[in-house]
C-alpha cells in the first residue's frame, strides 16, 4: 500500500498477515458443488475471524474500517494465496449498492447473512440480447398487489448455479420502449428499469448451469416464469433502478476489486518461468518483462489513487473505466506472455511443464481473457471515457 499507513494500519496488517499465514487453505477452484461448499466454509471462517467486509459499518457487523484497511486486507489476502472468494458479489457489489440505495430494513435483512456467508448472491444483469447494451434488457416484472411478477431470462450469471439469491434488473414499464432507441444514453431505455432482489428458491425460478470454456461450472442462465417477488425486495425506486445499477457497476470496476499484489505475484511467477526455461538472460524477454512490470507499477499507483479518493469520501465515477482497462488488459497480456515463454510446454497442463503450478497459470490465463469482457467490455470502457471523460460527441 502506498498511502501513508498509520500505526493502526500497520498493526492491522500484521494481525491479518499472521492470521492468514496460519489459516489460508488450499482449495480447488469453486467449479463443483463440493468445491463451492469448501469455499463457503472457508469464508465463514474468515467471517468468524472478523476479516469479512471490514469496511462495513459496525452496526452491520463490519469493523467500520476505512478503505485503506480494507485494501490492506485484500493485499495480504493475495500475498497469502487466499482462494477466490465466492461471496464477492454480495460483499463487494450488492452491499455498497444497499448502503447507497437500500432501506434500513433491507440492510438489516440481507447484510448479516452476506457477511456470514450464510447466503450467496449472484448478479442478474446480462441477458441473451442485452449485454453491453444493458438497458435494452427485456426481463419484465408487473405489479400484482404487493408483488412483482417476473418473467424472462438472465445469462452469464457467475456462481448462479450455487447461489441463493440474485440481484437483478427487470423492466417494469416502458415495455414497448422503441428498440430503435439504441443510443447508449437515450432517456427512454433507462427509465422503467427496476433493481430487485430475488430468492432463487422461489417458485418459477430455473437455473441451468453453463460450463465455461476452461471447464469450470457454476456459471449459469436463470429463467423466471411468473416468479412472485415481494415489493419490499425492490432496491431503490420502481422504474428508477438505473442509477442503482450504476452504483453496482462502479463498485465492480473499482481498483480494490483487483488488488495490485496479485499482479506483483504474477510477475514474479513470470520471472520464474523465464528462469525455468533459461530465458532470463535474453534481452528481448527481459525488456518485455520490464515493460509488464512498468504496467504493474502504474496499476499499483492507480489503485492507490483510487483508495485515496474513496478514503477522502470521493468517488471515481467514469474514471473507474481507466482502472478497469488497466487491470484487465494487464492481466490478459501478462498471462499470455507466460504461455509464450513456456514455448512448446505452453500446451501442457501437467507437471512436465517447468512451472510450479502450470494448470493454475492456464486457468488464470483463461479467466483473464474474460476480464476484458465481464464488468463491461474494454470497448464499452473506451466508449465511456471518450464520451463522458473526454466529452467527444455522439454519433
Amino acid at each position: 500500500m502506498d498511502p501513508p499507513l498509520t500505526s493502526a494500519h500497520v498493526a492491522f496488517r500484521d494481525e491479518a498477515r499472521a492470521w492468514l499465514a496460519d489459516h489460508v487453505p488450499d482449495l480447488p477452484p469453486p467449479g463443483s458443488p463440493e468445491a463451492f461448499e469448501q469455499h463457503v466454509s472457508w469464508e465463514r471462517e474468515l467471517h468468524e475471524a472478523g476479516f469479512q467486509a471490514l469496511h462495513w459499518p459496525e452496526e452491520y457487523g463490519g469493523r467500520g474500517a476505512d478503505v485503506v484497511t480494507q485494501a490492506i486486507f485484500e493485499e495480504e489476502y493475495v500475498r497469502a494465496d487466499g482462494p477466490d472468494r465466492v461471496t464477492v458479489l454480495g460483499t463487494n457489489l450488492l452491499a455498497p449498492t444497499l448502503f447507497a440505495h437500500g432501506t434500513d430494513a433491507q440492510r438489516q435483512r440481507w447484510l448479516p447473512d452476506i457477511l456470514a456467508a450464510r447466503t450467496i448472491w449472484s448478479q442478474g444483469f446480462s441477458e441473451p440480447d442485452a449485454g453491453s447494451d444493458l438497458a435494452s434488457l427485456r426481463t419484465r416484472a408487473e405489479r400484482d398487489g404487493d408483488d412483482l411478477v417476473v418473467n424472462g431470462q438472465k445469462i452469464w450469471t457467475s456462481y448462479g448455479a450455487y447461489a441463493d439469491w440474485i440481484f437483478a434488473l427487470v423492466r417494469t414499464s416502458n415495455f414497448s420502449a422503441p428498440r430503435a432507441d439504441s443510443t447508449p444514453d437515450g432517456p427512454t431505455k433507462h427509465a422503467g428499469i427496476t433493481f430487485v432482489a430475488i430468492d432463487l428458491r422461489s417458485d418459477g425460478v430455473e437455473v441451468r448451469p453453463i460450463i465455461q470454456l476452461d471447464g469450470h461450472a457454476g456459471f449459469s442462465e436463470v429463467f423466471f416464469t411468473d416468479v412472485r417477488v415481494p415489493i419490499d425486495q425492490v432496491i431503490g425506486e420502481i422504474d428508477d433502478g438505473w442509477p442503482v445499477a450504476m452504483t453496482t457497476l462502479a463498485a465492480e470496476r473499482d481498483a480494490p476489486a483487483a488488488p495490485p499484489a496479485r499482479y506483483e505475484r504474477d510477475l514474479r511467477d513470470l520471472i520464474d518461468i523465464a528462469r525455468a526455461v533459461g530465458l532470463d538472460t535474453d534481452d528481448v524477454v527481459r525488456d518485455r518483462i520490464a515493460g509488464l512490470h512498468v504496467r504493474v507499477e502504474c496499476y499499483r499507483h492507480q489503485a492507490a489513487a483510487t483508495v485515496a479518493t474513496l478514503a477522502a469520501g470521493g468517488s471515481l465515477g467514469d474514471g473507474a473505466s481507466v482502472t478497469k482497462l488497466l487491470w484487465s488488459e494487464l492481466e490478459r497480456d501478462l498471462y499470455a506472455f507466460g504461455l509464450e515463454l513456456l514455448g512448446a510446454h505452453g500446451e501442457v497442463l501437467d507437471d512436465r511443464a517447468p512451472l510450479r503450478d502450470v494448470a493454475g497459470w492456464h486457468s488464470r490465463y483463461w479467466y483473464a481473457r474474460a476480464a476484458t469482457i465481464y464488468a463491461g467490455t474494454s470497448e464499452i470502457q473506451r466508449n465511456i471515457l471518450a464520451r463522458r471523460v473526454l466529452a467527444l460527441p455522439k454519433a
Binding site: D2, P3, P4, L267, I271, A274, D280, D283, R286, D287, I289, A290, G291, H293, V294, R295, E297, C298, Y299, H301, Q302, A304, A305, A308, A312, G319, V322, L325, L326, E379, Q381, R382, N383, L385, A386, R387, V389, L390, A391, L392, P393, K394, A395
Partner: protein, 341 residues
C-alpha cells in the same frame, strides 16, 4: 497522495504564466533563429519558478520534487523552451548538495552564491550527466555542471558549438567541443545518481505535459472537424484511440507522481521509480504523438499548423535522460537480480 491546495495553485499559476509568456508565436520565432533573451526567464524568476527548489535561506521557495513535476508538466504543456528542467530539477539540487558538503569540498561556499543568483533569475544552469553527447541550452547557460568520469565539474567559461536539431526551439550543443578550464567541484559520485533520476523524472513530467497538450488539442479538433456529416470525434475508431491516450497518460501520471514522492523522501525505490516513470511516460507520450498526428489528418502534417511543435518536442525528449529501452534494462536488472540484492 494528491496534490495539495497550494500545489494546485502553483500548477495553475505556472500554466497561465507559460501560456502568456511563451505562446506558439514565440516558439516559431525561436525556430526562425531568434535569440531567446532573458525576458521570459525574468518573468519565471519573478513568479518564483527559477528559485522553486532553492532552499529558503538562499532566497528560494524551498519546494520539493512534487512541485517540480507539477510545474514541468505545465512547461511541457506549453512547450516552454527555457531550461527549467536543467536549472530547477537537476542543477539546483546538485548545487544544494554541494553546498551541504561544504566542509569537505572547497566549492561549497561558492555554491551558495549560485543558488542565490538562480533564485533571483540572474543565472541559468545547464547540465550534462552520464556521458550525454549533447548539452541543452549551453548558449544561454551561465553555469555548466558536467559529469566526467564520476566527478562533477562546474564550468563558467565554456565555448559551445551548436548542433542542428529537429526541434529548433530546443537547442543542443556538442559536449565534446566544450572548451573549459576545469576544476572538479566534487568527486562524490553518490550525488550524481540522484541527479540522473531527477533528470529522468523531470523529463517524464515534461513528456506527460506535452502528451496532455496533444490529447487536448486533438480532442478539440475531433469535436469540430466534420466528415460524413458529423464531427469525426463521433466515430468510435477515433474515440477509442483518444481513450487509449487518456488511459496511458493517467497511468504514466501516477508513475511520475510516485517517483517525485520517492525523490522527495529519498525512498529506497527512488532509482527504480524513476526508471518506471520515464519508461511509462515515454510510452504514453509516443502513443499521444502517433494518435495526435493521425487524427489531425493532412492539416497536422503541415508546417503552418502548430501541432508539430509539440510532436517534435515530444520526440526529442524520448531520448533525454535515457530511452524507454534503457530504463527497462535497468528495471530488468532490478527484477532479475532481486535475489542478489
Amino acid at each position: 497522495m494528491f496534490p495539495t491546495e497550494e500545489q494546485h495553485a502553483l500548477r495553475e499559476m505556472a500554466r497561465d504564466l507559460f501560456a502568456a509568456a511563451s505562446p506558439p508565436k514565440r516558439l516559431r520565432a525561436l525556430w526562425d533563429g531568434e535569440d531567446r533573451g532573458r525576458d521570459v526567464w525574468k518573468r519565471l524568476a519573478d513568479a518564483g519558478l527559477t528559485g522553486l527548489t532553492v532552499p529558503q535561506e538562499h532566497g528560494g521557495g524551498g519546494g520539493g520534487f512534487r512541485e517540480v513535476v507539477l510545474v514541468l508538466g505545465e512547461a511541457g504543456y506549453a512547450a516552454l523552451p527555457e531550461p527549467l528542467l536543467e536549472t530547477v530539477a537537476v542543477g539546483v539540487p546538485l548545487l544544494t548538495e554541494i553546498a551541504r558538503l561544504a566542509e569537505e569540498t572547497p566549492g561549497g561556499a561558492w555554491a551558495h552564491g549560485w543558488l542565490e543568483r538562480i533564485a533571483a533569475g540572474d543565472a541559468i544552469v545547464t547540465v550534462q550527466l552520464g556521458g550525454a553527447p549533447y548539452v541543452v541550452d549551453a548558449d544561454v547557460a551561465d553555469l555548466l555542471l558536467t559529469e566526467i568520469e564520476g566527478s562533477l565539474f562546474a564550468l563558467t567559461d565554456f565555448g559551445a558549438e551548436p548542433v542542428v536539431t529537429e526541434d529548433r526551439a530546443r537547442r543542443l550543443f556538442d559536449a565534446h567541443a566544450i572548451v573549459d578550464s576545469r576544476s572538479a567541484v566534487t568527486h562524490r559520485p553518490a550525488i550524481l545518481e540522484p541527479a540522473r533520476d531527477r533528470g529522468a523524472v523531470g523529463t517524464a513530467a515534461l513528456q506527460t505535459g506535452i502528451a496532455r497538450r496533444l490529447l487536448d488539442t486533438t480532442v478539440e479538433y475531433a469535436r469540430t472537424r466534420q466528415q460524413f456529416g458529423q464531427p469525426i470525434g463521433a466515430f468510435q475508431a477515433v474515440q477509442h484511440q483518444l481513450a487509449d491516450v487518456h488511459v496511458a497518460l493517467t497511468a504514466a501520471g501516477g508513475a511520475v507522481w510516485h517517483a517525485a514522492g520517492a525523490i522527495d523522501d529519498d525512498g529506497p525505490d527512488r532509482a527504480h521509480a524513476a526508471a518506471v516513470a520515464k519508461a511509462a511516460a515515454n510510452d504514453a507520450a509516443s502513443l499521444a504523438n502517433r494518435v495526435a498526428l493521425q487524427l489531425h489528418g493532412g492539416i497536422g502534417f503541415t508546417w503552418e499548423h502548430d501541432l508539430h511543435l509539440w510532436l517534435k518536442r515530444g520526440l526529442a525528449l524520448q531520448q533525454a535522460y535515457g530511452s524507454a529501452r534503457e530504463h527497462r534494462r535497468r528495471i530488468a536488472a532490478d527484477l532479475f537480480d532481486e535475489e542478489s540484492r
